[in-house]
């Protein structure tokens, strides 16, 4: 078929993600992750700069301001890889925040976006549906919505951050107290809901990557771990759990891909499709997390084994940007109250 009707990313996007994956395998391997988890700020030293060098931090920054101006369908494979790697960097927050600055334009965008693209500035945005701002303590600029939905740029020094100690040291959570009077600027002409939906789908993509990684770990373990004289992966009780984990992941993936398209094209069902994606990816990743832990048995329930970093990232990202239940309710409202049943594609 000659048409471009696809549910998969373009070859270019996949190739780019492959090179980013190689970078993660070199610079964000499990030793680096463990060191990051033990460090003060939870990040991998120097990694953000390297991501900037290959163009990851500027994915959503326009070309004239130093980025590559990719839409979500093109950025999606990189986001999946960042989930697979359990990347402890403020990637979604920065890429989403950059879009608010792009939309606002003007002097603020001209000053901050080149710094985002070259890796010298990170962003955070929020608050989320339950008042949490992720990556706030890594941010050089905070983009905060007030109760009326107006968005302000606030420098960290002008806000009061209260860190919420979390089991996942790679995604820092905080509440932020701030006043519009102390803001650097108000961002006019921005579509905060569209950017929220962008972030929701981006996190859903990370959850797909997490699910893939945990499934790989569990399958590899089931092939090598022996009990009763045979590999535990030969037992149906283990096989069927892993098969269900595979199915859950496989059916979440196209839902996330479709949502990326809906966000990129700003179709009428954008928010509903984004909620579907976050729900499906959260449920799938949580399911795979449980299965991976169960298959690993006792060793999976230790701090020594690597699995715990992926489990905790799954818990965190499932909860952030609206958890599965929050998104199911948003979708349900659209479906049952607004009669918004049209499907895309």
């Amino acid at each position: 078929m000659s048409s471009g009707m696809r549910l998969r990313p373009d070859d270019d996007a996949v190739e780019f993600a492959g090179s980013v994956r190689e970078l993660f395998e070199r610079a964000c391997d499990v030793e680096a992750l463990r060191a990051a988890w033990d460090s003060g700020d939870g990040r991998v030293p120097g990694l953000w700069k390297r991501l900037a060098e290959v163009g990851v931090t500027g994915l959503t920054v326009s070309e004239q301001l130093g980025g590559s101006g990719m839409d979500l369908t093109a950025a999606l494979p990189v986001l999946v890889e960042s989930g697979r790697a359990a990347l402890p960097e403020p990637l979604v927050e920065t890429l989403a925040g950059a879009q608010l600055l792009e939309q606002a334009g003007g002097e603020l965008a001209a000053r901050w976006l080149p710094r985002v693209a070259d890796g010298s500035a990170a962003l955070a945005l929020g608050p989320g549906p339950t008042g949490v701002v992720s990556a706030a303590e890594h941010a050089d600029l905070l983009l905060l919505a007030d109760d009326n939905g107006s968005v302000f740029a606030v420098e960290p020094a002008a806000a009061r951050l209260t860190t919420l100690p979390s089991v996942d040291t790679g995604v820092r959570l905080a509440t932020v107290e701030w006043s519009a009077d102390d803001a650097l600027a108000r961002l006019d002409g921005v579509d905060a809901l569209a950017v929220f939906d962008w972030a929701v789908v981006a996190v859903a993509a990370q959850l797909v990557g997490l699910a893939e990684a945990m499934l790989d770990m569990a399958v590899a373990y089931a092939k090598t771990r022996e009990q009763f004289g045979v590999a535990i992966g030969s037992f149906q009780a283990v096989k069927h759990q892993l098969a269900d984990a595979y199915v859950a992941t496989s059916f979440a993936r196209p839902v996330v891909n479709r949502a990326a398209w809906s966000v990129a094209r700003d179709v009428p069902s954008r928010s509903r499709d984004a909620s579907h994606a976050k729900h499906a990816a959260s449920v799938a990743a949580s399911r795979v997390a449980r299965t991976a832990l169960q298959v690993h048995g006792g060793i999976g329930y230790t701090f020594e084994h690597d699995l715990h970093m992926w489990l905790k990232r799954t818990w965190t990202l499932s909860a952030l940007w609206g958890n599965a239940q929050w998104h199911k309710q948003r979708l349900s409202r659209a479906l049952l109250e607004d009669d918004a049943r049209t499907r895309v594609p």
Binding site: G233, H240, Y246, F251, A280, S332
Partner: protein, 378 residues
């Protein structure tokens, strides 16, 4: 990644929709598992065939339109959304026909496909036996070589449509020394042949949807062997792959059911009872949509030349469990009237067969674990 809908596909959709709107019976036909219903569904198939809409993916020479899988998905969406009748010819057109296109001789294709498309000949499946269910390779019904053909003895069971069908396709052991997957041959035979006895079995719903079929020295000529002698397993597996993969249960069926579920939910008068199932209703709708996207993705890959393989077991697991959930939710919304005769109850009973037929879901999980994930066989 571009999901834009092409104009030619939209035109196709509208053609199908308009025809269905003008032709779908206003009143639902009686169950196709009854004698009257079977005849009525046969009539319906002839109307479809006259409009060349019975077998749209087949080549034009055999009564089809030669459309690709994407247009087939479009057809199915419209078909089920229109509330059109169940397909009495489905065993033939969706399961046997793909195998016949791949393995059949020109003579076989010309002999069997046109009457299959018009439901002048409706086909039953002959896979399971009393001792060979999930373990299909344990089958024992045998065909012994005789002059000009084969003499068949044995028994098949759970043979869908056999109570009223005209022909049967299935696997028989042609090498008496063989075991398991070797020495099997794919045979075609008329159910009114000498020595064939069909004993209908009442299904869960009380209707004879399937049957036992007994073979007592039934003669099957050589020209009714499909594929090579002794290669029946390979030939049959191509059928079950297409069965699980795409054509058995198109997404349109579940999208239509999920949309009807929304209507049912709106019709519940009591607000508490109505909203109690909102989460389940939303879940069913999401899962139907996810199934649609997964199949579309699979079809697009198939068009690019990627074969549909063991991954299709995931497909079968997902739709069969989705179907049960949709109907469970509907029965929940019906409250105390859950077991009162209704289309939802019929659908619920039928949905419960989904995890059993076409390879049980337990077998599908084994297939995924071993052939997709690479886990060791027991």
């Amino acid at each position: 990644m571009d999901l834009a809908v092409e104009p030619s596909r939209e035109a196709w959709r509208i053609e199908v929709r308009d025809w269905l709107r003008a032709n779908v019976p206003a009143q639902p036909l009686p169950s196709l598992d009854t004698a009257d219903g079977f005849a009525a569904h046969r009539e319906w198939e002839r109307r479809l065939a006259d409009a060349r809409l019975a077998v749209v993916t087949w080549p034009e020479a055999y009564g089809g339109r030669g459309v690709d899988l994407i247009d087939w998905l479009v057809f199915e969406e419209e078909y089920w959304a229109a509330g059109a009748p169940a397909r009495v010819s489905q065993n033939g057109i969706f399961l046997l026909a793909p195998t016949m296109f791949e393995f059949g001789s020109d003579e076989q294709k010309q002999r069997f496909l046109p009457p299959m498309a018009r439901a002048d000949e409706v086909w039953a499946q002959g896979w399971s036996e009393p001792g060979a269910g999930s373990d299909l390779a344990a089958l024992r019904s045998r065909a012994d070589k005789v002059d000009g053909g084969w003499r068949v003895n044995g028994q098949k069971t759970w043979s869908s449509r056999a109570a009223f069908a005209d022909w049967l396709f299935g696997l028989f052991r042609t090498d008496p020394e063989s075991s398991r997957h070797r020495g099997l041959t794919y045979l075609l035979m008329p159910l009114d042949a000498d020595g064939v006895t069909v004993r209908p079995i009442r299904q869960l719903d009380g209707e004879p949807g399937f049957a036992e079929v007994f073979f007592d020295d039934v003669f099957v000529p050589d020209e009714h062997v499909l594929g090579g002698v002794g290669e029946g397993w390979k030939v049959a597996m191509s059928t079950t792959t297409s069965e699980r993969g795409l054509t058995l249960r198109s997404p349109g069926r579940f999208m239509a059911a999920a949309d009807r579920l929304l209507e049912l939910r709106s019709s519940v008068a009591d607000a508490g009872a109505r909203t109690a199932y909102d989460g389940d209703v939303a879940q069913a709708w999401m899962d139907a949509d996810a199934y649609r996207l997964y199949v579309l993705d699979t079809a697009l890959q198939a068009l690019e030349g990627k074969p549909i393989g063991a991954e299709s077991s995931a497909n079968k697991l997902f739709w069969s469990e989705l179907d049960v959930r949709i109907h469970e939710t509907a029965l929940g919304l019906l409250g105390e009237r859950a077991t009162v005769d209704s289309a939802w109850l019929d659908g619920y009973e039928f949905s419960l067969a989904g995890p059993i037929y076409a390879g049980t879901n337990e077998v599908q999980r084994n297939v995924i674990a071993e052939r997709v994930l690479g886990l060791p066989r027991a």
